[in-house]
């Protein structure tokens, strides 16, 4: 695959979005145009994974002006892996959204497409300012999606979400300005190692990393995530959980590796902050009473694990962090989708108003159980390998306190998962489980019919696909670990990446 085709992964979804937004196409064509670009990206990123598996870096500089002023697009093993995972998630979440009928909301399809274009761009760009632009491209449709779907609380949480993200984006931009003022460039190739040489650049990049940490919901700036994510529609929550915070995490990995050269002076900050993130997230989840709010707090806890990899910055640590990132994106989306399917079918996600789902929906229960055990780190699922590698890396780096914290936190995680399991899947269905449903043609005032809600197969399939993926990653962990260690090697030795950016 020629590197000149890389910008297409941004251009195709954007063009499809434009077409969908402007032309009033029939619903089936809407769906095809929603799914086809993501499927295309999935195929393309599989090819890219194959090409980059030996550490090759593909690059293409759009509009290469004299002095190397360009819009660089790059793919190495890390970005290819992320592209693969994100496009899989977009595809699966879009299929779920179609199943629950979210796609009938006007502009849903174009917004998701713009979102996926922004994600692909942010993963491939080799320029700090372009990263800002692509993150904005990713966030703008998110504002719309959050305010369009879900409960009425969404309007209030939409305000929190927009203001928080606008503030952090502005801080990010201020950091870009400081870096440009100090280094005279925002090209990642030229900024390579610059923070180690100049403390001015280090401060500027520090501001950028601070903004990214807020975006990835690191404790103590995690409150916005728990406040906003549970109030939109389940499909959108799953989509956001897989994409937004994870792009910020990807950016932290990339920028810290390239610009700071993985400077171990800052190791202690990472260990303290990310350790606190693990603990606070998991403890906050204990007090929650609905499925999605429990899962959202677990997400915060897991973000601590993922970022611990970049704090350690050893080969094993980075490999484990990257493995954890991919595992987490898949598992979390799977959990959000399976609980979302229950929420859609039964009308609530509150633990005390659900029960006995396992007997009625055995396949869904298995999908949830697989993902939940994987999240807690029980073998043979992917979470076990991820946690094992990370704890081993922490011990290897001599950070045994944080390693013990990681193990303890995963026990509490298991407890919370069992709480959802006990509240939702086991036990007896409460009295009002049979929901009154009006037939499609009944007139107002007629007697509603009591029906037992059921999760349709179209909602079930996305959850099962993701649960199967996490077991697949768990059983065939060697493949992903190999890819992870190639990606880690590219982060440890950035020379290939830097040469590729400079073209």
């Amino acid at each position: 695959m020629s590197a000149a085709l890389l910008p297409l992964m941004v251009a195709v979804p954007l063009s499809a979005a434009g077409l969908l937004a402007l032309a009033g196409l029939p619903p089936w064509l809407n769906r095809v145009l929603l799914l086809a670009p993501s499927a295309g990206t999935l195929v393309a990123s599989t090819v890219l994974l194959w090409i980059t598996r030996d550490g090759t870096v593909l690059s293409h500089n759009v509009a290469l002006w004299p002095d190397g002023i360009a819009v660089p697009f790059l793919v190495d093993a890390f970005s290819a892996l992320m592209l693969w995972t994100t496009s899989l998630l977009v595809l699966v979440c879009a299929a779920f959204a179609i199943a629950v009928g979210d796609d009938r909301t006007s502009y849903f399809c174009p917004l998701v497409l713009v979102l996926s274009a922004g994600v692909a761009g942010a993963l491939m760009t080799g320029d700090l300012f372009n990263m800002f632009v692509f993150i904005e491209v990713m966030l703008l449709p998110a504002y719309g999606l959050l305010a369009m779907l879900g409960s009425l609380r969404r309007l209030r949480s939409g305000r929190v979400y927009v203001t928080l993200n606008l503030l952090t984006s502005t801080v990010f931009l201020a950091g870009v300005a400081l870096v440009y003022g100090a280094a005279g460039t925002v090209n990642l190739g030229r900024l390579a190692g610059a923070a180690a040489d100049s403390s001015m650049v280090a401060v500027g990049m520090g501001v950028v990393l601070l903004a990214l940490s807020v975006k990835s919901a690191v404790v103590p700036v995690h409150g916005w995530l728990a406040r906003t994510y549970p109030s939109t529609s389940p499909a959108v929550t799953a989509l956001f959980s897989g994409l937004h915070t994870k792009i910020a995490i990807y950016a932290i990995y990339r920028l810290y590796a390239v610009v700071f050269d993985g400077d171990s002076t800052y190791l202690w900050i990472g260990v303290v902050v990310f350790g606190a993130t693990m603990v606070v997230g998991v403890l906050a989840a204990v007090g929650e009473e609905t499925t999605r709010s429990i899962l959202v707090f677990h997400m915060i806890s897991q973000i601590g694990y993922i970022l611990l990899g970049v704090a350690l910055f050893t080969e094993l640590g980075l490999t484990a962090g990257i493995f954890y990132l991919v595992h987490h994106m898949i598992v979390k989306a799977s959990l959000f989708l399976s609980t979302g399917a229950i929420e859609k079918a039964h009308g609530t996600g509150a633990l005390d108003r659900l029960g006995g789902i396992a007997a009625r929906e055995p396949l869904l229960a298995i999908a949830f159980m697989v993902a939940a055990l994987s999240l807690a780190g029980i073998p043979p699922f992917s979470g076990f390998v991820a946690k094992l590698a990370l704890v081993a890396a922490a011990f290897q780096a001599g950070e045994w306190v944080v390693a013990v914290v990681a193990v303890a936190v995963s026990l509490v995680t298991l407890m919370s998962m069992l709480k959802i399991w006990g509240g939702v899947f086991w036990g007896v269905a409460p009295e009002e489980a049979d929901r009154p449903v009006h037939g499609p043609h009944t007139e107002a005032g007629s007697t509603p019919v009591l029906v037992r809600p059921e999760v349709p197969a179209a909602m079930l399939a996305p959850c099962v696909v993701l649960a199967a993926t996490t077991s697949g990653i768990g059983l065939g962990a060697a493949v992903l670990l190999d890819l992870g260690s190639t990606a880690a090697a590219n982060l440890l030795d950035t020379s290939t990446y830097v040469e590729a950016v400079l073209g």
Partner: protein, 102 residues
């Protein structure tokens, strides 16, 4: 120095407005903060060279740096669109700014 002071005053006003209750004031705060950061980007390119950046028209040592100007242009467009969207959010849901946001 003038630029630095202007940026300082803008950030001061922005922080003050953002700590207020109503969403419209917060939005005005964001407008000011956006201006402050745009000025920061401009100053990052150096404001003392001001000739048009046209190749072969002006010598390279007097032309202004076009890159930060392009950055600012992009940033203005993005900030503008989000401001409009936030104003829409402020207009929907009439008086929940006064409620306790628990």
């Amino acid at each position: 120095m003038t630029l630095a002071l202007t940026i300082g005053v803008l950030v001061f006003g922005a922080v003050f407005l953002m700590l207020q209750r109503g969403l419209v004031r917060i939005i005005l705060g964001f407008v000011m903060l956006g201006h402050a950061v745009n000025l920061m980007l401009m100053s990052a390119g150096g404001v003392f060279r001001r000739a048009q950046p046209l190749i072969g028209y002006n010598p390279a040592d007097v032309v202004s740096d076009p890159l930060p100007q392009a950055f600012v242009l992009t940033a203005i467009v993005i900030a503008f669109s989000i401001t409009v969207y936030m104003l829409t959010l402020a207009a929907t849901g009439s008086d929940d700014d006064t409620e306790d946001l628990s």
